[in-house]
Every structure is written in C-alpha cells, then in structure tokens.
Symmetry: C2
Subunit: 284 residues, 2 copies
C-alpha cells in the first residue's frame, strides 16, 4: 500500500463511454479512499463519437498515447470495451515511449487486442480486469471498486483465485484472442495459464473459436487453459448438445493442452484481476 495519491488516466480506445460513468467512479473513489483519493482523469475522448467508436482512429490513438506516455500517470484504465482497439493498436504501439512501460494498464474484452500487443512488447504492468463502465452494471460498484483496489494498491484480494499460485497468467475474451492469432499482436504465451471468457456468442461459435485457439502451434505451448464464464449465449439452432465446459475440455484434449478447470472471470461484476505474466506482489 502506498500513501502517495495515485493518478489514473481513463481512455476509450474502442466504444464510447456512458456519460454517467465519470461522476459515479469519482464518487466511489472518494468514498473508498477518503484520505488518499486517487486522482482520476477521464480523458474527454471517452465521450467523443465517430460512428461505432469513441472518436475516430486518430483521436482514440492520440488520447491513449497522451496518458500512456505521460510520466505523471501511474495507470491507464480502459473506459469500456465494445469494439475498436484493433484499429488503433498499430498506431499506439509504434509511438509508446519508455515512460509508458512504467505504468499499470487495466481492461478486458476488446482491450485484449491492445494488451496482447503491449505484453508482446514486454510491458509488465498489463492486467485483465473491470473497465470503468462496469460501474453501471447491477452491483457494479464491486467491479469498479475491485479495479481501483488493483490500480491503487495492487491488492491481492482482487486477483483471480488461482493467480497467487505463482504461475505465469494471461486472460482474454475468446473471440478477441481468436481474432489476433497470426497477427503481429499475438504474444508469446508459452508456459502461461491461459484464461478465456466469452459473451454473446452461440455455442457453435464458441466451439469454432476454441478450435482456432487450440489449433495454433504457439498457443499449444501454454501451461493450460481455464474457462471463465460464458454469458448471454444465444440459443444454438439446433441445440448444440454440449456445454461450454464440455467443448473447452474437448478441444484441450484434442490439442494436448492441459484442461485446468474454471476461472473466475467474465463479462460481469465478479470479473477478477489477471495480471499478464502473473502476480509479482503489491506496491509500486
């Protein structure tokens, strides 16, 4: 635990953040840390709008770089996921400076596109975990509070329960990992426990994405796969006759990847923190 007030920058490299989020997060942070309230700067880009995205590609990349390359920020927090990180990943990764390496990064879902690239580039502070927008979910203060506890104190109680065992870890949305395989964003996950979660995809798509991920020769070097929650699965036509866990086990067995059970991550308020590379202890 640090006594210095942390400074957190929030940007939206994908979809636009909802207008209520900033005030609710500030209020929560003040209540949780009355004596050392973190300074949370919501970059105006979070509320920009350009078609599907929170501003055009150049605007989103610039906002990310302003926070990431500014040494006064301790952390960069994703405002929300949605879609769009793959469009700005190259522009961001090409212009990050050494200052960007000494910083925490937190987000999940679409953020995985950019986090994969950061981790591949050797960044050690990248973690899967709640975005600011999660505060709007039912019970969302638990998610936002967990994110703050990670960003302020790297608190071990925020971690996915198996992370403290000390293995290298990484976590992705399954569809996002599938869509970065074979690109310059794909990180080396050899020896990692790979946790995968999904939302809003029919079972045949989950099956297809798991074929894809487990058929990749580099992914086959992982220490094992854990399956997070798969939520809002639309009905499969016809019924798929297998659950997501059966499907995940099936592909692990076929590919020779150890099946390590369920992970406590997902598109919900219980979504836990998974540091890319594993947990190296609190404090900064």
């Amino acid at each position: 635990m640090t006594s210095r007030k942390r400074k957190i920058g929030v940007v939206a490299p994908a979809s636009r953040m909802s207008t209520k989020v900033a005030e609710r997060v500030q209020t929560l942070a003040a209540a949780l840390y009355p004596d050392r309230t973190p300074q949370i700067h919501f970059h105006p880009q979070c509320l920009a709008s350009h078609g599907h995205f929170a501003g055009d590609d150049a605007t989103r990349a610039r906002a990310f770089l302003e926070i990431a390359n500014d040494a006064s920020y301790d952390a960069l927090w994703y405002a929300r996921g949605g879609y769009g990180s793959c469009r700005v990943a190259e522009a961001i990764l090409d212009r990050l400076t050494e200052r960007a390496r000494r910083k925490a990064y937190l987000g999940y879902s679409d953020a995985g596109m950019l986090f994969a690239g950061l981790y591949r580039a050797g960044f050690t502070g990248v973690a899967h975990g709640p975005v600011a927008e999660d505060i709007l979910r039912d019970g969302g203060e638990a998610a936002a509070g967990r994110a703050l506890a990670w960003l302020v104190d790297a608190a071990p109680e925020t971690l996915e329960p198996t992370v403290p065992r000390g293995q290298k870890t990484a976590a992705f949305n399954l569809t996002i990992l599938s869509h970065l395989l074979g690109t310059p964003l794909q990180p080396d996950l050899a020896g990692h426990v790979l946790m995968l979660e999904e939302v809003g995809e029919a079972m045949y798509r989950i099956d297809r994405s798991l074929f894809h991920v487990t058929s990749n020769p580099q992914i086959r070097q992982v220490a094992g796969i854990m399956l997070g929650r798969c939520s809002w699965i639309p009905a499969n036509e016809p019924d798929f006759a297998m659950t997501e866990q059966e499907v995940a086990r099936y592909w692990c067995e076929r590919s020779g990847i150890p099946w390590l059970g369920r992970a406590d991550i997902g598109h919900d308020v219980d979504n836990k923190i998974v540091p890319f590379g594993g947990y190296v202890g609190a404090g900064a």
Copy 2:
C-alpha cells in the same frame, strides 16, 4: 465436355442436409443432362444427426474419406455448409490417399476450413461454389445447375467473371478464413486474388475480421482482395457509418494489399465458381 457419365459423391462434413435436396438435385441433373445424366450418390451421412452436426465427427470424417478415397468418384460435392468442417479436417487430411488428389471438390462457406487444408496439401481440384442445399433457395436451380455444370464439364461460364483472366485465385467466407489463420490449415495464398464474402455478421464483425485477415503476414502476400456480397448484415449498434466496401478498401489500404473491387460470389443463388489456384481449362 466429356461423354463419359460423371460420378459425384455428396457428403455433409458440417450441418445436416435437408431431406428434399437429393430428389430435387437428381431431377435437375436428369433434366440438364438427359443423355449423360451424372450419377449422383448422396451419402446416407448427409441426413445423419448429432447435435449441431450431420452425424458425429467420426461419422462425418468417414463419409468424406469413403468418397474422396474411392477412385470411381470424379467429384466430391458438399451437401451444405453450416458448421463443423473444422472438427473433422485433421482426421480427413491425415487419411486421404493419392486417389483423393485426382478429384474435384466443390463447396463454400464452412467448407473453406477443409478446402484450405486440401489446397495447402497440394490438391488442384478444389473450388468455391454452390452446395447441393442451395437448390432450396428461391431460384436455387440456377445455383445447383451451375455447380453441376462445373462438376460435369468444368464449364467456363460458371466461373466468377474475373477468374478467366488467368491469375491464381481463392475464395473464402471471411469469418471462416479468419478462424483458420495461424493454424495448420492456413494455405499459402501468395500471388492469389483472394475473394471474400460474408453472411449474417454485423459491420463491426466484418471490420474486425478484415483487420484480422489483412494483418496476417502471409495473407499480405496475396495479389489483391476482392469483396463478394455481404448479405443478411444485422443492424450495427450504433450505426457503423461505413459500408462493407468502404471497410474492405480501408483495410486493404492500411495493409498495402491491392484492392481489386467486387467479386461475384456470396451466400445466394448467383454465387459463382472460384477454383483454388485458378482456372486451368475444361475437360478431364
């Protein structure tokens, strides 16, 4: 044009075929080729059922191999797409014999998973084109008739109009190609005109898949990309503000892949034939 009666085997490595298809295709074939009606064998597996699939993985792989490895068949025709080819691709590719190489293969959509592997393995008779089930579409006899004209006579009028220019060609459903990148199924498409079509995917997903495909270093060796029809696109929330053609051009420009315009392929009755590797002339 050959005077010998062709023998065509129909199998369903993915989803189950509808019961009406066999009779309607046989009737059409008899009407189109009264003097040399092709012998079309619908493998019983086409009507098998196992959850999402036309029989379990072993049943589907076995049916494919029975036709592919039988020298008496001139062609293997996909009954329909759907989903499931990725599950049987490895089992099939491992057991194909030399007899399987001297044969035509026709299908599209989910078939791309297996066709990618066949083409990578050096098969020269693989082509994108209508499946038997397409006869059930409105005006579907045109699609089934085109498939027969290809399988019986390799008729040049069935070809996608740019194919006769003589370049190497390949055609895929965009989502299917995305899901085989970075796996042992990915073929070498260097120097090929790559045609991509899509069905039932929101614009943000089309955009994401095009990011994926155009970011792959091997795909960047193609001679260019042509975009087929993108049909049944669900509404994007919020509006994506770009058409599928604008998105395809964008990713071509970003990746340095030549944009070659529209291709006459898609999930519809106008879907034309695209031989993997290009057109080498009629006759067999």
